[in-house]
Amino acid sequence: MAVIQVERKPLTFAERTYIPQIIEGLWITIKHFFQPTVTLQYPEQRPEIPKGYRGVPTLVKDPNGREKCVSCQLCEFVCPPKAIRITPGELSESSDNAHVEKGPQAFDIDMLRCIYCGLCQEVCPEEAIFLQNTFSMSGYTRAEMVNNKAKLYELGGTLPDEHLKWDKKKTAEEHGNAH
């Protein structure tokens, strides 16, 4: 590529005195002086969370109130900082969802370790774990910063589900054409 020599224009006398530049600068700052402020008064005003924001990871239920997690532990294995600890358990025979067979007994996410990478959400085959809107976590002790299962469901709530995979499975089973 050819080198282009750019002629630098010599400064005019007015520019060398620096005074027109100062006046121009003063004019710019005084314009800003009278402009409205752009600061968000944080605790009172909350920022608008954009779609797809990766906040605190949470567990969600399907519209029928069934917990979606089947404790496959994929998220636990994929979690880079090892923030997730799952104790897998079996669902009792009497439960409505006995055909799902497994669910987490305990599900802890250590928010002091979590790096909000979203790999758990990406890897989850059941679409049970989501990084949602919550962006401010605080606590006085380390123990407070560990979200247990109840807290995770409280934060997560219910998300819409078009497929309802396990309900279809149950109906199919009842009609005798499972699998």
């Binding site: 100062i22 600068g25 003063l26 700052t29 800003h32 002086f33 402020t37 752009v38 600061t39 008064q41």
Partner: protein
């Protein structure tokens, strides 16, 4: 009642006036720090400090109650008034450590030395005027702590002592950043002092006639702008014309040198927080640090006051409208307009308003311009401003000589 005041012994009156001036300077200098933060914030499209509010209970109860008045309280909170109180309380009561490696005597002496010249210079600065009857004649008298004829000399002599505080602080701190700050400040202050002094000489050349009555008083500088004091020429026809119209270049050089003398941006070499941590006051904290801060603002107040007296008409509200004319107009509406108290308050009000606009200008410039490099400051001071002020002085000397010769 006011006659009672004028019948007090002179010494008592002077002490009362001095206390009044100090009681004015201290809170205003402190309020300047809040003004600085707010102006900086508004220029950067931020709201600035607006959260603090005084609690009800304890020492701050009156302030806390004020904060709960509807509309006024939230407005004061928005303006950061309570933040100012909190800052003041913090500076006064927090622990004031003296680092182990400093020269203790000079370390403690430095902030005191900073404060003394800053407050002493106020003594010769007139802030207003009133009509007094002396020997049956009505004469305009200045409102000033000491109406001495050496006015401007006293200001220059005392205010330049302020540099010792910076040097002492920098040296006694025994730290390289503080030391560099002190050295830079001393070099800068010495360089700009020359240009500053030379730039005001034409004003006093004009005010003093060879063989006539001589003066260096700041009150007479304003009287000349009023057309009452006659120096080389009879000024009566130009009455109310401000000095800045006669000598724009002098006013400009004085203002630039004033920025440098008060260590304000773009000349804040002594602090240079991006290069020298905090410059000469790196090792200082709490009350001693706040004294440096107050001294800087006091210097700004006195400096702008002198600039206003010399070039911007003192207590005259607008060019060509001296205070006496204004009072003349007012006396048609208000019967007691010529009363010393009323007239004095009007004059002081106008003067203080001008000082505040100057301080606003100082802050406006600070948040507009980047800091000069050290060599640029030296270049500007020695190679630009000093020759310019000498040329300025020569020009006015020749012009005055010529005009005086033509008049003969």
């Amino acid at each position: 009642m006011f006659d009672f005041y004028f019948h007090l012994p002179l010494i008592v009156r002077l002490v009362l006036q001095a206390i009044a001036v100090i009681l004015f300077m201290f809170p205003v200098a402190a309020a300047c720090s809040m003004a600085e933060r707010k102006i900086c914030a508004w220029i950067q499209n931020r709201p600035g400090p607006n959260r603090a509010i005084a609690p009800i209970g304890g020492l701050l109860t009156p302030l806390g109650l004020v904060g709960r008045i509807p509309f006024l309280g939230p407005f004061l909170q928005q303006m950061g008034i309570f933040q100012l109180a909190a800052d003041g309380g913090k500076f006064t009561f927090k622990e004031d450590p003296v680092p182990g490696h400093v020269n203790k005597f000079y370390f403690i002496l430095a902030p005191i030395i900073a404060m003394i010249p800053a407050l002493t210079t106020v003594v010769v600065v007139p802030v207003g005027a009133y009509f007094a009857v002396i020997n049956g004649q009505t004469v305009l008298q200045p409102i000033v702590l000491a109406n001495v004829d050496i006015g401007i000399l006293a200001v220059f002599a005392v205010s330049s002592l302020g540099v010792y505080a910076v040097i002492l602080a920098g040296w006694a701190s025994n730290s390289k950043y503080a030391f560099l700050g002190g050295v830079r400040a001393s070099a800068q202050l010495v360089s700009y002092e020359l240009a500053m002094t030379l730039s005001v000489l034409p004003v006093f050349l004009w005010m003093n006639k060879p063989g006539g009555q001589g003066t260096l008083s700041l009150f007479d500088a304003v009287q000349m702008q009023n057309g009452v004091w006659h120096g080389l020429f009879n000024m009566a026809t130009y009455h109310g014309m401000w000095g800045v119209f006669y000598m724009p270049l002098s006013a400009f050089i004085f203002l630039v040198a004033l920025f440098a003398e008060t260590n304000r941006a773009p000349f804040d070499m002594a602090e240079a927080e991006s290069e020298l941590v905090a410059g000469f006051h790196t090792e200082y904290g709490a009350f001693k640090w706040s004294l440096f801060f107050l001294a800087e603002y006091c210097h700004m107040i006195v400096g702008s006051a002198v600039c206003i007296l010399l070039f911007f008409g003192g207590w005259n509200i607008l060019p060509w409208i001296p205070l006496t004319t204004l009072i003349d107009w007012l006396s048609h509406i208000i019967p007691f307009a010529t009363h010393p108290l009323f007239m004095g308050l009007v004059g002081i009000g106008i003067f203080v308003g001008k000082v505040f606009s100057f301080i606003f200008f100082f802050m406006w410039v600070r948040w507009t311009l980047p800091r000069f490099r050290y060599d640029q400051i030296m270049h500007l001071g020695w190679k630009k401003l000093l020759p310019l002020s000498i040329a300025n002085l020569l020009f006015y000397t020749l012009a005055f000589a010529l005009l005086a010769w033509l008049k003969k």
